[in-house]
Subunit: 120 residues, 2 copies
DNA sequence: CTACTCTATAACCAAATGGTTATGGATGAT
DNA sequence: ATCATCCATAACCATTTGGTTATAGAGTAG
């Protein structure tokens, strides 16, 4: 993957159940790597890798405290990704399409048949 | 990737600029493969692959019409993914965190120092 | 300074991803 | 029937991904 933009990085980061679970955990509180790794059966380096991906997408920030490194949820990129997807809200129900077809039929040319509803 | 659930499939599908562009194109109208492939410099089989990924995520459905196969946007999975992300709305601004900290400080135990704000 | 704790990095591996070219299959037209 | 069109599939390839174990590094404690 070329990881072109922020959006790509965020969606790629979310496309993994482990990383989604890490984000979920971080909604409760900041946490160090050991805490984050505890619920999973995978190794600590694997969790560190996932955290790096999340950090790369801007979904978490990290800070030191003694030897521990705490992860902190940064949900702003999620907001941007949500905004992107909400552009498709108009298509979330078929009713909008049918409304469009009806409107088009009555404005462009009166008394069209139903064939126009199959746009191509 | 294990492609566990629908959410994983949808985010993985969105984690590619070409596929996002295909979805964008399909907001205008249904289209056959040749039309969809036209704006891109990649080969037709590459586009077919991307369409299969989108179909696998439930983001498009397909139908035949003569030799052509038309893709149709199905945005419902996007709605579900948006709902998932909106669970993080609460964390989209720092102000909520600070409000929480203030509330915790005043309800759990009066006159706490600022150290408690660093949750761990 | 040494030892310990917590985490990152290195090196490696299997599988998935995103692309290619070449070919095959289904459908419509002549 | 044959041919043309549109698309899918096969076979292949390079890169990325997600995991492993082993080791190194940064910080704290004694």
């Amino acid at each position: 993957m070329v990881m072109d933009d922020q959006l790509t990085a965020v969606f790629a980061a979310l496309a993994d159940p482990t990383r989604r679970a890490l984000l979920q955990r971080l909604t409760e509180s900041d946490a160090n790597v050991a805490e984050l790794a505890a619920p999973f059966e995978m190794s600590q380096p694997a969790i560190s890798k996932h955290l790096r991906v999340l950090e790369g997408a801007g979904l978490i920030t990290r800070s030191r405290h003694a030897t521990a490194r705490f992860s902190h949820l940064e949900a702003e990129p999620l907001r941007e990704a949500t905004e992107y997807m909400e552009k498709y809200k108009r298509f979330w129900t078929k009713s909008f399409d049918k409304l469009d077809a009806a409107l088009a039929a009555y404005t462009e040319q009166p008394h069209t048949t139903e064939e126009e509803e199959n746009n191509a």
